[in-house]
Amino acid sequence: MLKIENLHTTVGGHEILKGLSLDVPAGEVHAIMGPNGSGKSTLSYTVAGRDGYAASEGAVMLEGTNILGLAPDVRAAKGLFLSFQHPMEIPGVQTMTFIRTALNAQRRARGEAEVSAADFIRLIREKAKLVGLDDAKLKRPFNVGFSGGEKKRMEMLQLAIFEPRFAIMDETDSGLDIDALKMVGDVVNALRGPERGFLIITHYQRLLHYIKPDRVHVLAGGRIVKSGAAGLAAELEKSGYEQFIEAA
């Protein structure tokens, strides 16, 4: 599904990713854990195609196609969703308008029919309930004045509406309380299926209590330094990242 091969990324003159390889087959949820500065956000930006995060070497294969070099929206239309660690505020654009515009842009790019206004309202109301956002928020400018937790719920709302093929969750758990963590777990678990993959990037183990990963990888010094089953997360929690920083 998402296969990363020998990925190198240089940001602002410093090589951050130094030959990272990773394979998340369809139907699986993988977690990447790592200390601060290990390259976690660089990985998500490189995969999603942010300016300034171009790979100097390697490949990112999404369902067999190398997506490096594609525009971020083209990657999105191919079904790649990035849940941002720090979601944007867009003053002046109503939340509903924004999400519908994005959804239909993706659908158009895939040659699918656009969703009508009526269907969309039905859809967004249903999903908003799922993520715990009340309707009033949907009429407000996108994310403006929302709390950190609400912004993360807004990311989950979009995840639920777009139903992407592959989602990267970049530090989605940061700043969330237990109820919100559970909600994130519910949304992700409901979407888990044989055709979909997830990559959960996190510093702590706590989100992984709600989303059981199939595999856990340790990112340190720009490379995956260790991979293992779900139990690896608990082990890390106990022993810390120290050993890997040195190893890297």
């Binding site: 942010r50 999105a76 979009q158």
Partner: protein, 411 residues
């Protein structure tokens, strides 16, 4: 009238002088105004308040076409959907609407103003007073039905045209005015709008500047707002060779309010100048102002906003925001948000920002699937959002949104 009136007259000034001399009957006040104009000359960069809008330079280059008869059929206004009462001022000639007068509304062709004391140092206003023969007069009574008034200023292939509008909104009345500045070809148009909003009345003015690229326009609105009256203005401009819309609001009595919002969407070599001056003369007045300027190519956006709070105007509450968005390396934004305050118990603030589209926001939208053009357009629309929010008529808001969308497609 002797040649000596002007120092080194430009061809345009020579034409103006000939035109003034050729007028059938100029009053003494008009002759005095012309002399004041001649002494001042067209404003240039060295004049404080005009440093970013050089009328002297632009008019020097104006080639008089004076081909006013070439006026063809005029297409219906896009504001026709609002069923307005439509006035047209075509190359300076006033055309009144036909048919029955709505209740409470009076209008006609009237004598122009002889002087506006606070604008005596405004060269173009002086010229306007000297040159304008007849003015359009409109009076809105208390019980006039809420039907918009549309004034279309159409200046086509005219070397120069001068007009005035005088409008009074009676106590407790409501009036909605839409003004469009239209017309192709090169020319100079000066409009002086003198208006009074009486106690408790509400006045909404919408100004759309959508002329061809070569027009040079200076429109000056001087408004007096009485007690508890409201002046609400929204402007949208796509600019032209040189365009300057000035709004001078005097909040004359307690409880008056002004809301002045403007947006400029500029491309190519277009220029738009919004200059406003709100004078708070009485206690408990409130002003809100938002300006948003978007410029690409070599366009130039100018915003000069001034709040003045006189000694008597305690408890004034005034806020001004000006934001500029530059979409290309050669576009320009010039801001001068000014406060002049003589009363101590007031709350006055202004903020100004200038920058490009936010790269983080752009990436976020691309990640959500919008292509570059759509993402940029959405962000520009979002940037303008606060001005659109100030439009309380939904149909008007839709027309604005469509205009912005049209511009963005071009962007």
């Amino acid at each position: 009238m002797s040649e000596a009136l002007f120092n080194n007259p430009t061809p345009f000034e020579v034409d103006l002088q000939a035109a003034f001399a050729g007028r059938a009957k100029a009053t003494g006040a008009q002759a005095a105004a012309f002399e004041r104009f001649a002494k001042l000359g067209f404003p240039n960069r060295r004049i404080e308040g005009w440093k970013w809008s050089d009328f002297h330079g632009a008019l020097r280059k104006l080639t008089p076409a004076n081909d006013a008869e070439a006026q063809g059929d005029i297409a219906p206004s896009e504001f026709a959907a609002l069923n307005p009462l439509e006035f047209r001022i075509i190359n300076g000639q006033i055309e009144l609407p036909q048919g029955e007068l709505p209740d409470g509304l009076r209008y006609g062709v009237v004598e122009p103003v002889a002087t506006i004391p606070e604008l005596e140092r405004h060269a173009i206003v002086n010229l306007n007073i000297a040159m304008t023969g007849k003015a359009l007069g409109i009076e809105v009574g208390e019980n006039t039905p809420d039907r918009p008034i549309l004034i279309r200023h159409i200046n086509t292939n005219a070397a120069f045209a001068f007009t005035q509008t005088m409008m009074r909104v009676s106590a407790n009345a409501r009036a909605r005015l839409i003004e469009t500045y239209e017309g192709e070809g090169s020319g100079f148009y000066s409009h002086l709008f003198h208006m009074v909003v009486r106690d408790g009345a509400q006045f909404h003015r919408t100004v759309v500047h959508q002329t061809g690229a070569d027009q040079i326009v200076n429109a000056v609105c001087a408004a007096k707002i009485d007690a508890d009256a409201a002046f609400n203005q929204t402007s949208l401009s796509t600019g032209s060779r040189l365009s300057r819309h000035e709004t001078i609001v005097h909040l004359w009595a307690q409880g008056g309010s002004a809301e002045i919002n403007s947006a400029a969407l500029l491309c190519d070599d277009r220029h738009a100048d919004f200059t406003t001056h709100v004078v708070h003369k009485a206690p408990h007045c409130r002003t809100r102002q938002i300006h948003k300027g978007v410029a690409r190519d070599r366009a130039r956006n100018v915003f000069q906003g001034k709040f003045e709070v006189e000694r008597e105007a305690q408890k004034t509450d005034a806020k001004m925001t000006a934001n500029a968005l530059l979409l290309s390396d050669t576009a320009e934004a010039n801001h001068k948000p000014e406060l002049e305050i003589y009363a101590d118990d007031v709350e006055c603030a202004h903020g100004s920002t200038c920058g490009a589209l936010d790269a983080d926001a752009l990436f976020y939208l691309r990640q959500r699937g919008l292509n570059e053009a759509a993402a940029r357009a959405l962000l520009v629309e979002a940037f303008l959002g606060e001005v659109l929010d100030g439009v309380d008529d939904e149909r008007l808001g839709d027309i604005f949104r469509n205009k912005i969308a049209d511009w963005l497609v071009y962007e």
